[in-house]
């Protein structure tokens, strides 16, 4: 589908915000040796990114006049739930930030508000991910993997951001756990690899034969009902990414989000800052690929389909498996 900047900003910044709050909650619960100033800076970072993400979501609505109805379908719509959960998360986080600034001696209350915000943030990330994972027509996203990848992206980008801020303030990054950034990066890389595979399987399952009932391949689109496929008025489909763009895009994701943070983790303060930048770029590119490389079921009527040889055809004297010369 067509990637739009409000969706990218909302999902990415919400993830960063909650990822940072997860670090704050872990520091509070785990008793990490971090200074009060560092925790306060982390909370400001979470609040700022969350506020930016929430602001970006406004631009995804094209008719703000109807925004007052957005909570009408809480019983069935994940988007209604997303508006409620993200709003609730930001409200509680704002209270926590305000308590720290205006009433610093109420540390118990602040701690409770912080932990509550971290919990609500997890709910908000889950609901945002479910919004995408529960659409059967979007074949690439309709999987529990989508939810797991959203959480991994949030932990990587938030953890890297918190680590960089902690190091800049003279602390030991993520509470003296320098390997945590690299661990987040490696887990994220593994999940992205699984997602690449899932997206290819989804694309291979959307067949023109399903949509037309015509026997035989290849299929050629003669007419999409207009002078070309409706990419302008139907945002759920987008031109198929060329193989070179897809390959280089995913390679850049793995380099930026996995290799970069892992190499930078051992380089001290400067390394943590560079690693965070690399991780953020990698996660942002992975989210762009998440939208741009997604396959919608309606693609069966809007794209050609090449002839593909049988990968399981068995010929005399030849074992099962695709022949090299059969590749298209």
């Amino acid at each position: 589908m067509r990637p739009t900047w409000p969706l990218l900003a909302l999902t990415l910044l919400q993830g960063v915000s909650w990822g940072v709050m997860a670090v704050v909650a872990a520091a509070l619960v785990g008793g990490w040796p971090v200074s009060t100033g560092t925790v306060q800076a982390w909370e400001w970072l979470a609040w700022g990114t969350g506020a930016l993400g929430g602001s970006a979501s406004v631009f995804h609505m094209h008719r703000l006049a109807a925004a007052r109805y957005v909570l009408r379908r809480l019983r069935s719509s994940w988007l209604s739930r997303e508006a409620l959960s993200t709003g609730g998360y930001m409200a509680v986080l704002s209270v926590a930030v305000a308590l720290r600034v205006l009433w610093p001696q109420a540390s118990g209350l602040w701690e409770a508000a912080t932990l509550l915000a971290a919990g609500l943030g997890a709910v908000a990330v889950y609901i945002t991910a479910m919004l995408y994972a529960t659409i059967p027509a979007m074949r690439s996203w309709h999987s529990p993997l989508t939810v797991v990848v959203f959480f991994a992206a949030a932990l990587l980008s938030g953890g890297a951001g918190a680590g960089a801020v902690g190091a800049l303030l003279g602390g030991p990054g993520l509470g003296g756990l320098p390997g945590l950034d690299a661990a987040f990066a490696l887990v994220f890389g593994a999940l992205v690899s699984l997602q690449i595979r899932a997206f290819r399987v989804a694309a291979a399952g959307v067949l023109a034969a399903t949509g037309t009932g015509l026997a035989g391949r290849p299929y050629r689109l003669q007419d999409a009902g207009g002078s070309r496929p409706p990419y302008r008025t139907q945002t759920q489909i987008w031109p198929v990414l060329p193989a070179a763009v897809r390959t280089s895009g995913y390679a850049a994701v793995l380099v930026l989000a996995v290799v970069g943070p892992c190499l930078a983790a051992a380089q001290g303060t400067t390394g943590l800052v560079w690693g965070a930048g690399s991780a953020w770029l990698g996660v942002a590119l992975s989210r762009w690929m998440f939208f741009a490389d997604a396959t919608h079921s309606s693609r069966v009527w809007f794209a050609d389909q090449p002839k593909t040889p049988s990968p399981v055809r068995r010929e005399p004297g030849r074992p099962y498996g695709r022949r090299r010369e059969d590749s298209v």
Partner: protein, 220 residues
């Protein structure tokens, strides 16, 4: 009641009469909303009904299919529950799926949820629009009965399209679906579309006059 359109794929010749009449009615007719800002200059603009042309096979063994595709008015319309504002809804009395433009925020989630790619985003008004089954025509009692049907049905020159109540066992559409093995698109996605298609049959073989004379001669 579940209103529907049945399309006989044997009769559809891909003339796009249905596509054009839909746009004409919903743009410049007496009823209905305007689906485009400048409908006659934007060739790539909004079409609520698109006739897809697909060719399959390799020469000389080639098949061509024309598939008029508009809103399927599904029983379990996936576009309805995902809508956060309730702008997308399915009418209880006749099963038509509609969009309340006043409540639509233009988030386009319904377009992603629809398996069929039949919803279109109007970037000028910021709302999602789609086939209404010409609800303004079929409920207008001032029209003569023969005009109370969707524009695409009325304009089809080959009578490939039939309009009626799918849940009335005596209706023409129910008979067509039952007797001609009417099918729906992408049933595996679980939307249970109301719109059905009648499958294509093999074209009868061409028999030359000499063969006919020979067969008749063998029988006599």
């Amino acid at each position: 009641m579940q209103l529907t359109i049945i399309t006989d794929l044997n009769k559809c010749v891909g003339c796009k009469s249905c596509q054009v009449s839909c746009k004409e009615h919903n743009t410049s007719g007496d009823f209905g909303p305007v689906p485009d800002h400048d409908p006659y200059r934007e060739a790539e603009g909004m079409w609520w009904n698109r006739v897809i042309g697909m060719e399959a096979g390799e020469y000389p063994h080639v098949g061509v299919m024309y598939l008029p595709k508009a809103c399927m008015h599904c029983y379990d319309a996936p576009c309805v529950p995902v809508c956060p504002t309730g702008a997308s809804y399915k009418r209880d009395d006749n099963g038509v799926v509609l969009v309340d433009y006043e409540a639509c925020i233009g988030c386009q989630l319904c377009m992603w949820a629809c398996p069929y790619g039949v919803r279109e985003f109007d970037e000028h008004e910021g709302v999602v629009k789609k086939c209404t089954l010409c609800i303004d025509r079929i409920e207008d009692e001032s029209l003569p009965p023969e005009d109370r049907q969707p524009a695409c049905v009325q304009s089809c020159p080959t009578h490939a399209r039939t309009f009626g109540d799918l849940e009335d066992p005596d209706s023409a559409v129910a008979h067509l679906v039952a007797e001609r093995q009417g099918f729906v698109l992408l049933p595996e996605l679980g939307a249970r579309p109301a719109i059905h298609y009648l499958p294509r049959r093999h074209a009868p073989g061409i028999v030359d006059p000499e063969t006919i004379d020979r067969v008749l001669g063998e029988g006599s």
